[in-house]
């Protein structure tokens, strides 16, 4: 005979509403279906051995020296969780399951689709693949072009006031924000995805790629004076975020995937500010270095700086942190749409390579960074690398 407390427990626990967002549901479903589509066990285990050997050979011939360093050692053997198609290993692109992947390094661009490469090291000043990989936006000098990814046909062309230095699609691919250099200053523009209705947002901004909010209604950017601002694309108003956390001249910023949380980083510090709610700021320090930011979940993000990869978990209150150290400077970082994998540009000795890796989990044990795939073999390039994974 259940007691009164047990009856109340049954009622309370069975009445708990399923209050997940549709986005969380969709991401979980996509991840589950992708996992279910994996290879049959017998065949997979055979290919795992073959491909692991192939990857190890590719990495060795590409000059990748993987050595254990720091508290979270870099794996000294490539570890594959699932075998990629062998053909992709020859092209190096794109990562398994990606609709499109792009690299911009040293003024050269690579864009790969599942079955072909759209660009292979072509000179470009900016590159951006639209969400869903329908269009690729590419800039060369003062020309901005939208190319249909499926056919390679040029859909739209625009001539800008100056060379385009960065371009970003909004999450709903209806708007584009781009930076262009005019008279020695960077300008921020906002326009429709059809490369029309161009609107000059700010004449003096820093050379930092802007970031769109999840709802595509606002874009964050760094002003020339180092202040971060959020421009509302619907009413044209711009709000300057008061400084905090001791940041000076941020060099990276990124909105969270489903909220107004904005991560801002300079060479030594990270700040996470709630631009639409009243949550207090979160501040953290990181190793000196040009930072890259990649959100993987609504409350989790990676920040790469120097040779350290930080995983942050936003708590209520507080911030959880885990680190992974790699034997090269991380000069570019992005995450797969499901947040399970990362792409990293690793630079050492004046050359850069791009790899796909499993996103390091929070773990009681020191977990190595598992390299899954070499995406771009080592090539001369020393500056920041822009990566995009759709």
């Amino acid at each position: 005979m259940p007691s009164e407390l047990e009856r109340r427990l049954e009622q309370a626990l069975t009445d708990v509403p399923v209050a997940a967002s549709s986005d969380a549901h969709d991401r979980a479903r996509d991840a589950a279906l992708a996992a279910a589509a994996g290879p049959a066990p017998g065949r997979g285990s055979h290919w795992r051995v073959v491909i692991a050997a192939a990857v190890a050979m590719v990495l060795v011939t590409a000059g990748v020296t993987l050595a254990a360093t720091g508290e979270r050692p870099f794996s000294d053997t490539a570890t594959l969780t699932k075998p990629p198609q062998a053909a992709r290993m020859h092209t190096g692109l794109p990562p398994r399951g990606a609709r499109a992947f792009s690299i911009l390094a040293g003024g050269r661009a690579w864009v790969a689709l599942p079955h072909r490469a759209l660009l292979r090291g072509a000179p470009r000043s900016a590159i951006a693949v639209s969400p869903g990989a329908v269009y690729v936006l590419e800039a060369h000098g003062r020309t901005l072009r939208a190319v249909a990814a499926g056919t390679g046909r040029v859909a739209q062309t625009q001539h800008t006031a100056g060379p385009v230095t960065a371009a970003v699609w909004s999450p709903f691919p209806i708007r584009i924000a781009y930076l262009t250099e005019v008279g020695g200053h960077q300008q921020l523009h906002d326009e429709w995805g059809t490369l029309s209705h161009d609107y000059l947002v700010d004449r003096h901004v820093a050379a930092v790629a802007p970031s769109w909010r999840w709802d595509s209604l606002a874009v964050a950017y760094v002003r020339a004076d180092g202040r971060v601002a959020v421009h509302n694309a619907t009413n044209g108003r711009t709000t300057v975020i008061p400084p905090n956390c001791g940041l000076h001249h941020p060099t990276a910023l990124a909105f969270a995937p489903t909220s107004g949380l904005l991560a801002i980083a300079d060479r030594t510090r990270l700040r996470i500010v709630d631009t639409t709610g009243g949550a207090p700021d979160v501040c953290a320090a990181h190793s000196p270095g040009a930072p890259s930011i990649a959100w993987v979940r609504p409350h989790q993000l990676f920040v790469a700086a120097g040779t350290t990869l930080y995983r942050y978990l936003l708590l209520q209150p507080g911030l959880g942190t885990d680190t992974t150290t790699v034997p090269a400077r991380i000069t570019g970082l992005t995450a797969s749409p499901d947040g399970r994998r990362l792409a990293l540009a690793l630079t050492s000795g004046g050359s850069t390579r791009v790899v796909a890796a499993a996103a390091p989990p929070f773990s009681e044990q020191a977990t190595p960074l598992h390299v899954l795939q070499l995406l771009l073999p080592a090539r001369p390039a020393a500056g920041p690398v822009t990566l995009s994974w759709q």
């Binding site: 047990e6 427990l9 309370a12 626990l13 209050a19 991840a31 279906l33 279910a36």
Partner: protein, 177 residues
């Protein structure tokens, strides 16, 4: 039209049917999310737990014994992921997240909220058995099989958890008076 059983869906999904995998996902996602939320005490964490659990479960469909029920197998993965994440959080920040549960239950009735807040203060091991017993209706023997524990241990944890909850209620009543 007769709905396919979980076992049939697992078999078809493992042979490559995306529709079967999607049906299986939709059939179990809500229950798994509710379990993750009540065990972790947090909505945002539930999103991560359930995504991880489904990904692991669907990647391992080939190892699933189709003669056994699917839900307990999935629920065990959810619980393991939830406990892993809770352990990681305590290690990272030395913070008991269950100490700040009030904001997490704003979307339930006031009567239920007090009880759910009390459940969130239980140790994770006791919270798990309470949620499995009273939220999902598993018997102590089924919980024991799922968690690979002696039935006696499950009964003991249930009894202690109920006593903890009664103690919380007595404390709350004393505060009111």
């Amino acid at each position: 039209m007769v709905e396919p059983s979980d076992g049939e869906l697992v078999g078809r999904a493992h042979r490559g049917s995306r529709d079967a995998a999607a049906t299986l996902f939709e059939r179990h996602w809500g229950g798994a999310w509710r379990l993750a939320r009540t065990v972790s005490g947090r909505r945002d964490m539930a999103d991560d737990i359930v995504q991880d659990a489904f990904e692991r479960a669907f990647a391992a469909l080939g190892r699933f014994d189709q003669s056994r029920p699917f839900a307990p197998w999935l629920h065990r993965i959810v619980i393991n992921r939830a406990l892993d994440l809770l352990r990681s959080e305590r290690r990272l920040v030395g913070l008991d997240v269950a100490a700040h549960p009030s904001a997490e239950w704003r979307d339930v009735s006031a009567d239920d909220r007090a009880l759910l807040e009390a459940v969130a203060t239980l140790t994770p091991q006791r919270r798990v058995v309470i949620v499995l017993r009273y939220g999902l209706g598993y018997s102590p023997a089924e919980i024991a099989r799922m968690l690979e524990l002696p039935t006696g241990t499950v009964n003991s944890r249930l009894a202690r958890a109920l006593e903890d909850l009664r103690e919380r209620e007595r404390e709350r009543d004393a505060e009111r008076t």
